[in-house]
């Protein structure tokens, strides 16, 4: 079993260092939920609700899959969207993401 270290900064600015397994087909939304962080994941991970909207604050853009059209479309309906915005459910946890830092976007 492989584990990477992921830091999630919640909406109060508190950092949570999480051990994330990379062999369980998990994404960042699911990781946050399993750590009981305030991420709703309303749609279950279909890129259809934006409740897991977050900002990637570490240099991992190249290690991540590109935003799909579905994700880009859903971000159109989200607020506080920035260049580094992603939907947590679309970030698949994998070894190259060691040291990933994400900040939860405000819920609006």
């Amino acid at each position: 079993m492989s584990i990477i270290r992921v830091t999630v900064i919640d909406r109060e600015g508190v950092s949570h260092e999480l051990d994330a397994p990379t062999d369980m087909n998990m994404n960042v939304m699911e990781l946050c939920k399993s750590a009981e962080l305030p991420v709703e994941g309303t749609c279950g991970g279909m890129a259809m609700c934006a409740s897991c909207h977050c900002y990637v604050e570490s240099e991992h853009a190249d290690a991540m899959s590109e935003k799909s059209d579905d994700e880009e479309d859903m971000l159109d309906e989200a607020f506080h969207v920035k260049d580094e915005s992603r939907l947590g459910c679309q970030i698949q946890l994998a070894d190259p993401l060691e040291g990933l830092i994400v900040r939860l976007a405000p819920v609006g």
């Binding site: 309303t42 749609c43 609700c49 409740s51 479309d73 159109d76 309906e77 506080h80 969207v81 609006g108």
Partner: protein, 335 residues
Amino acid sequence: MIQTDILIIGAGPCGLFTVFEAGLLKLRCHLIDALPQAGGQCAEIYPKKPIYDIPAYPEILAGDLVDRLMEQAEPFQPGFTLGERAETIVKDEEDQFIVTTNRGTVHRAPIIAIAGGLGCFEPRKPPVERLAEYEDQGVEYIIKDPEFYRGKKVVISGGGDSALDWTNFLADGVASEVTLVHRRDGFRGHPDSVQKVLDLAASGKIRLLTNGEVVGVDGDGHLEGLTVKHKTEGELRLETDHWVPLFGLSPKLGPIADWNLNITKNAIEVNTLDYSTNVEGIYAIGDINTYPGKLKLILCGFHEATLMVQSAFKRIYPDKNLVLKYTTVNGVNGF
């Protein structure tokens, strides 16, 4: 007034299957849903997505699942109040519940089954300061009657089909000025609608502001202007009579939160014996309930609905004995 045996709040898969299971016990059902069509999330959010964990369907599209459930419920002639939100609940002198919607439709039943899923779908409101002050004073989240905008200056926000379609419609001789504001260059709407918007912008019939978002509203009582933050050009002000932000729908628990039910983390606590709530006669099934070990699966909602109607039957007919009858033996005898 609409009288029924089980009044179901929420016409998603779980609510629809309740009609079938109740029908087998000769109980009639009526469903209320805030959305204009039955099917809940399956119909509204992901009709074209496949579901793989419905027993005996290795793969079924969510929209098809709804169609099948409607077909299965059909012999039991369910009633529907669609496009209305269940608002208030009171008990009358005969121990029946009276549920009234936001549009004033009155329903009466001895049993309430809340199958509300994630709650009511409501328009997503952009986080703009003082926005609430201008609601119905120039800010509308839904276009009900396009005539309302005749001769007016209108700004629409969003990049989906409704934003594009309304831009095209209002630009066609209805509004005096139409501006579409969108956060990026790409649009997710139908390619024909996108092309039409781009053509209108090129010919100067609408103003298209991409890479921008509305960050401020102003006006003395009624909306007069918007502040738009542009990615490269900074802030600019748009004079307008109306702003229609079209950012889709998101679920909110809504008025049910005030029905004196025990609620934990946006879900209604139930007893797993029969999925009853703390209020006698009110049950909660599917994604809206919670109990130790709860899984938010359609599959589990079906099970909950089945057990719930047995308990509802005993509540309505305390003196009758209920014997489980198999559909294979008895068939399905509708009303």
